[in-house]
């Protein structure tokens, strides 16, 4: 699904990821943990293709294709979804209009017929249910006036609507209370298929109580310094990131 090789990424001349490597297979859930400033969000942005992130070396292979030259919207249409850490507000643009536009463009790219208005609204209702959004989300402007929890639920809702092949969730759990956390995690679990993959970026272990990863990676200083089974997350929680830092220093 995703194969990142020797990736070096800089922002404004500063190297954030250095010779980064990651291999995610179909049907797998990978968790990426690490202290602040280790490069977690940079990784997410680089995969999504954000402009200010200069890739000086390496490649990102997605479904067998190097996507480094592919514009952001085409990566999205190819099935890469990014759940944002800080979802942005777009005043005056209703969620319905936003999602309709997005789905239409994605379907067009794939050569599929766009959904009829009725089918679209039905899909929206269904997916709202999944993330337990009960209000009239449809008429609200994108993320405007949403609480922190609502914004994150809204990310999962959009993911459910788009049904991507590769979802990268960038600290979707941060700032969530335990109920919201459960809802977000349930949403993710419900969307798991045999042929899609998740990369869950998180600072804390607690999300992984709900979303069980196949592999846990520890990102430190721009590269993965340790990978292991899900128990690694618990170990990290217990010993803290200093344990890793010391291990590297030692």
């Amino acid at each position: 699904m995703l194969s990142i090789k020797n990736l070096t990424v800089s922002i404004e001349g500063k190297e954030i990821l250095k010779n980064f490597n990651l291999e995610v297979k179909e049907g797998e859930v990978h968790a990426i943990m690490g202290p602040n400033g280790s490069g977690k969000s940079t990784l997410a942005s680089a995969i999504a293709g954000r402009e200010d992130y200069d890739v000086s070396e390496g490649e990102i292979i997605y479904k067998g294709k190097n996507i480094l030259e592919m514009p952001v919207e085409d990566r999205a249409r190819e099935g890469i979804f990014l759940g944002f850490q800080y979802p942005v507000e777009i005043p005056g643009v209703s969620m319905t209009n936003f999602m309709r536009t997005a789905l239409n463009e994605i379907y067009k790219y794939k050569g599929k017929e766009p959904l009829s208005a009725g089918a679209f609204l039905k899909l929206m209702e269904e997916k709202k249910e999944l993330v337990e959004i009960h209000d009239k989300l449809a008429n609200r402007s994108v993320n405007q006036g949403f609480s922190g929890g609502e914004k994150k639920k809204n990310e999962i809702f959009q993911m459910a609507m788009i049904d991507p092949d590769l979802a990268i969730l960038d600290e979707t759990d941060s700032g969530l209370d335990i109920d919201a956390l459960r809802i977000v995690a349930n949403g993710v679990n419900a969307l798991k298929r045999a042929n899609n993959s998740f990369v869950v970026i998180t600072h804390y272990q607690r999300l992984l109580d709900y979303i069980v990863p196949d592999v846990v990676h520890v990102l430190y200083n721009g590269r993965i310094v340790k990978s292991g089974p899900k128990e690694l997350a618990l170990e990290l929680e217990e010993k803290g990131y200093d344990w890793i830092k010391n291990e590297i220093a030692g």
């Binding site: 919207e73 979804f81 005056g92």
Partner: protein
């Protein structure tokens, strides 16, 4: 021999007719270049106007000669030689094209993006339309309905001929001859326009638009519109269209006057999409418009809604005089400037009556190297007890080479008045664009979405059929402005 003779006569007659008929028409139907008293008399005579109209025009001309072009606007207007303009030319028939293949492909592309039907496209670009699709029959039905209600909706010239008493009574009653330089010019030389009268107690059952006026002649560069809504009446009026409009006349100076009597309501919507010039700022229309309405009686209501995307230079301040007690006035505006366009637009709300209420919502969008200014005056006179105004002026910037400016003037002479002014300036952020892109929405669609969201409050005020087209128009106007 006889046959030959008759052929000869026929030849002579037809050729003679051809010769004189044709050439004399050309001579007679165009005024001499420049503006003199003779020009004004020529126009009036040409239109077979009654004496009062000639007097009106001459008075305006005398006034205009004493005036100067205003220079206070935040606009860089190239010098205009008013003696180099032809002030009257009979409506020319547009050159008819055989098929859409002869039309500028760029224009067709825009039509497609606007979702304009093929037949409509043909009509707009001057392609001969199949008789079945000719809208004359639609228009006739339309006129019949209006007639039954006693509504007068016709060209200004027809109104002068058929309803001189109404024209005499209301013409220049809202925008006086000497109101400003361009209004004086328009008063002297206006060629045609629209006239609308809604009788007492009548609610006009459909949106009125010039599209449905029989004899829609090319009204030319000096257009005059007069709308009178008598007591307890209602009308919604639409001007312009979203299709790109080109015109060989660079200078346009229109005047629109609205009179709303007691309990009457007038909604006036405009979509202005005149040719803005090319990307380097060459060409394009200069649009100097005076629009004003008066809420003459108690509880009258006037609302202006405008979507301005065209013209190289826009100078336009649709205004309201709130004379009747409890009268209400609204101004909703979206003004888009891109490339080298300049716009100085806004509104004036003059509160005279008691408990009068006005609202100004202005949304400026600047891109490219354009300059976009809001200029507004809220004036509360001495006896306008408990008057209220709320103004909100927002500017949205795309890129860093454009300018957005706000010039609000507030003049309050009554201590019970409440006047509020809010202003914001924002940019489309990279975060917003990235967010949209990441959901599969490309740059242009993303800008379209964000801009339409920003302008939603105003677009919602447009009549339904206008609103949908206006949304697409906003996106198209900003194409290529980011990235």
């Amino acid at each position: 021999m006889e046959e030959n003779e008759s052929n000869k006569i026929i030849d002579e007659v037809t050729q003679t007719e051809y010769k004189y008929g044709f050439t004399s028409d050309v001579e007679m139907d165009m005024a001499k270049i420049g503006l003199t008293e003779e020009t004004v008399r020529f126009i009036s005579a040409k239109k077979n106007e009654p004496q009062f109209m000639l007097d009106f025009r001459l008075k305006a001309f005398e006034k205009w000669k004493t005036m100067k072009q205003p220079e206070w606007a935040h606009l860089d207007i190239p010098p205009i030689d008013f003696q180099e303009i032809i002030y009257y030319a009979a409506p020319k028939k547009k050159k008819e094209l055989a098929s859409l293949e002869e039309v500028d492909p760029e224009l067709l592309e825009t039509f497609d993006k606007l979702g304009i039907s093929l037949d409509e496209q043909k009509k707009l670009s001057g392609v001969a339309v199949d008789a079945v699709f000719d809208s004359v029959s639609v228009k006739t039905t339309f006129q019949k309905t209006l007639h039954e209600k006693g509504i007068i909706f016709c060209s200004f010239s027809e109104a002068v001929q058929n309803h001189p008493e109404l024209v005499k009574k209301y013409l220049a009653s809202v925008v006086p001859i000497g109101d400003n330089y361009y209004a004086a010019l328009n008063s002297a030389v206006f060629s045609d326009g629209s006239f609308c009268y809604i009788p007492k107690g009548v609610k006009c059952p459909m949106e009125l638009s010039t599209y449905f006026r029989i004899n829609t002649a090319n009204t030319g560069q000096f257009e005059r519109t007069l709308i009178i809504a008598d007591e307890d009446s209602y009308v919604s009026y639409m001007e312009g269209c979203t299709a790109p409009q080109r015109d060989e006349n660079q200078l346009h100076a229109a005047v629109v006057e609205i009179v709303a009597m007691k309990n009457a309501e007038v909604k006036y919507s405009t979509v202005q999409n005149w040719y803005p010039g090319n990307k380097e700022g060459k060409g394009g229309i200069y649009n100097f418009v005076t629009k004003r309405g008066i809420c003459k009686g108690a509880n009258a209501k006037i609302s202006w809604t405008q979507v301005e995307t065209g013209s190289a230079i826009t100078w336009k301040y649709p205004s309201c005089i709130l004379k009747g007690d409890n009268s209400v006035a609204e101004f909703y505006s979206v003004a888009v400037t891109n490339n080298h366009q300049q716009a100085d637009t806004g509104s004036k709300m003059i509160h005279i009556g008691k408990n009068t209420k006005s609202t100004i919502i202005s949304k400026g969008i600047s891109a490219g190297k354009s300059q976009n200014s809001y200029r507004g005056l809220v004036q509360v006179n001495k006896f306008a007890e408990n008057s209220r105004n709320f103004s909100q002026c927002d500017s949205l910037l795309l890129g860093d080479k454009c300018g957005a400016h706000t010039f609000p003037y507030i003049k309050v002479e009554n201590t019970t008045a409440v006047v509020e002014h809010e202003a914001t300036t924002s940019k489309i952020s990279d975060d917003q664009l990235f967010y949209c892109n990441q959901r599969g929405i490309d740059m242009e669609s993303a800008i379209g979405l964000i801009v339409n969201g920003y302008a939603k409050e105003v677009l919602n005020k447009l009549p339904m059929e206008f609103a949908v087209e206006a949304q697409k128009l906003l996106s198209i106007s900003l194409e290529g402005s980011v990235g």
